[in-house]
């Protein structure tokens, strides 16, 4: 067994402020006292335990949020979602995460690589962590708190590794620790050196149980964290902001956490909703559609960027919330024998669908379309705008122009010849199109009816045009297409 404990320094602060951009000092309070603060606040003289009034006197632009256990739980679950990508055995332990890694080392290329990737994934989601490894979960946690970075691989080395740690890492209440401290005990090593009977007399029984679990002498069962296949996470901004760079930065944290979670479930999302919450106003909802299921944070961030560029926000944004309920299974691909792989057909299709959605996000839905053919012989009805990917091929016809005018252009007539900046010289043969009468069977001459003789004509600048003459009187000439 190899347990990794992840401890988040200043956890109440990390949980409340997922976007720490280092512009203003931040702190979290509980009962009018500061309980967690960031480096800027520390540099300005704010300390843990200070009263809020004192802290504000030292750092006037300090942003203070009260501690919120619900937000801490939600944030820890987000972090656990990221960790699930690396092992299925993740358990929540107050404000820390415990991961059992023995089955994952080979897949992720050893402990060093795995730890680096894990730290990077968590950092992208907005979490800073320190860690330690040990054969038992409790020892890993204690080491992460007291001596971060330690790696103990076997049980025999545990007593030696734990010995220098202070008693406070056990998390036992001050009621249990005070008598021991009074007896001059400071470290776990000193505690372990004492006879057990003497300790039992000093009410240290519960502490001994913890110590036995840490040393692997007693079972310490952990429950794997399981999360429902649903995304719903929220990030508050330190101060309400409107500039899209700040919003995208916060959104990218949500996307990174969500995508790590999706990777763990071998799933992707085809659609998700990014809610931008305003103070005292209904939220602005951006619906991000990817066309194909995805779990790439850059794809989602790219779509969000296009949406933000297009809309005008009614008010500054106080918080962002990402929701996605429909998860689609997205199995991974095995690596090719020689590493690099050409994009598969499915990948090209996914990229093709994504391109359409990305273009539509900025330009508008009907600005991007395909052409679908139809069997209608009228030239203007031979193609219709269609949903990309759902277009039908049409019938091929030779001697047809590449470009069609939206509205036929009426032509003048001189000496019995059509005229457009000069006489138009018609080629011999013509194509008669007689169609559309079915659109208005009851009317004698329906508006959509086409009864035309089409000809290819050469204009004065040698341009080749497609013109027609109405069959009905007054036999007017029209320009309908250009041979591009």
């Amino acid at each position: 067994m190899l347990w990794l404990a992840l401890v988040f320094p200043e956890w109440p602060l990390q949980a409340r402020f997922r976007t720490r951009d280092g512009t203003r000092p931040l702190a979290v309070s509980q009962g009018q006292r500061v309980i967690a603060l960031d480096a800027i606040a520390l540099a300005q003289g704010v300390r843990v335990g200070q009263r809020l009034a004192d802290a504000l006197a030292l750092a006037p632009d300090l942003v203070i949020r009260s501690r919120e256990p619900a937000a801490e739980t939600a944030a820890l679950q987000d972090a656990a979602g990221c960790a699930l990508h690396f092992t299925p055995h993740v358990s929540l332990d107050d404000d820390a995460l415990l991961l059992e890694l023995s089955g994952s080392l080979k897949l992720f290329g050893g402990l060093d690589t795995l730890l680096r990737t894990l730290q990077r994934t968590l950092a992208a989601a907005g979490f800073e962590s320190v860690s330690a490894c040990a054969p038992t979960p409790r020892a890993a946690r204690w080491l992460a708190l007291g001596a971060p970075g330690q790696r103990v691989r076997n049980v025999a080395a545990l007593p030696g590794a734990l010995a220098p740690l202070p008693l406070e890492v056990t998390g036992a209440g001050s009621g249990a620790l005070l008598p021991l401290r009074d007896a001059g005990l400071r470290t776990l090593g000193e505690l372990m050196a004492l006879p057990r009977s003497a300790l039992a007399l000093r009410d240290a029984g519960p502490l001994l149980t913890l110590l036995d679990q840490a040393l692997g002498r007693r079972p310490d069962l952990r429950v794997d964290h399981s999360a429902p296949p649903r995304l719903d996470s929220r990030i508050e901004l330190p101060v309400p902001r409107q500039d899209s760079d700040v919003l995208l930065f916060a959104a990218s944290r949500l996307f990174s956490a969500a995508c790590a979670r999706l990777a763990a479930a071998q799933s992707g999302v085809g659609e998700c909703a990014l809610e931008l919450e305003h103070e005292g106003q209904p939220p602005t909802v951006l619906t991000l559609r990817t066309g194909q299921p995805t779990r790439d944070p850059r794809v989602l961030a790219g779509l969000a960027r296009e949406h933000l560029a297009r809309i005008a926000l009614p008010a500054p944004v106080a918080a962002l919330r990402l929701q996605a309920t429909d998860w689609l299974l997205m199995p991974g691909r095995s690596r090719d024998l020689f590493g690099a792989q050409a994009p598969s057909l499915a990948e090209t299709r996914a990229a093709a669908a994504l391109l359409v959605e990305r273009l539509r996000a900025r330009l508008g839905h009907d600005k991007v379309h395909a052409l679908s053919g139809s069997a209608d012989p009228r030239p203007e009805c031979a193609q219709q705008p269609a949903e990309p990917g759902a277009a039908r091929p049409g019938q091929a016809r030779t001697r047809r122009p590449l470009w069609l005018l939206t509205e036929p252009e009426a032509l003048a007539e001189r000496d019995g010849q059509p005229w457009r900046h000069g006489p138009l010289h018609c080629l011999e043969d013509s194509e008669r199109i007689e169609a559309g009468w079915w659109d208005g069977l009851d009317a004698p001459l329906a508006a959509n009816e086409a009864l035309r003789d089409y000809r290819i004509a050469i204009g004065p600048r040698q341009e080749v045009l497609w013109i027609y003459r109405e069959h009905h009187p007054p036999h007017r000439w029209y320009l309908h297409g250009v041979f591009g």
Partner: protein, 240 residues
Amino acid sequence: MKHRNAALAPVLQQRSDIWAANDLPDSAQPGIPSGHPALDAELPGGGWPVGELTEVLSDCQGHGEMSLLLPWMAAASRREGWLVWVSPPARPHLPALAAAGLYTPRLLLIDAERPAERVWALRQALESGACTGLAGWLDKADTAMLRRLQLAARATPLPVLLFRPAHDRQRPSPAGLRLQLSPGPAHALRVDILKRRGRPASTPLYLRTRAFSMPPPLSSPSLPSPAAGPIRRPALTLIA
């Protein structure tokens, strides 16, 4: 490599230390055949260049300028991916495209008003990796935009054809290949290669791009048009 002097050719081929100034450089990236052998012979790489922009400058309509691209587009549309047209000047007529061999369901039409949006759409298409060919109509585009587009094109082995008005000929452009199209005699399309990698081209090409044959109507004296004067054939005429 073609040399006018047959006796000189073998000597030149043996000597690697002699560089013939009229050689087109062997392009690192072979181009995509344009479907017009006479044009391919003049293009470095033997076809539409990939990984850089190609500009087609033209003011005319109805002289077969789009048909110049159709053989390549028809071939490109047989592969999976979009054939992207950004802001074409008119509605494409599908039966004509199908007749040219284009598989039309893979055509993606994008209407963008402003030049910056058109360039943006082209860049998105280039970077998506989901396209087999790109054509864009840019009537107003500044050099900085084109430079960004050229950078995006460099990473993607695709031909990018940009239609620009003929008066943009005077403006500098980062495109690796610039062609000017104008009506030629006898319904041929005149192609002037303004810029290409390697030695500059001096003689225009005359290409027939249409699928159907046309009678010579200009021989008829009944057409009093200033453009239709007596045709002086250029010294070198290539009719493909």
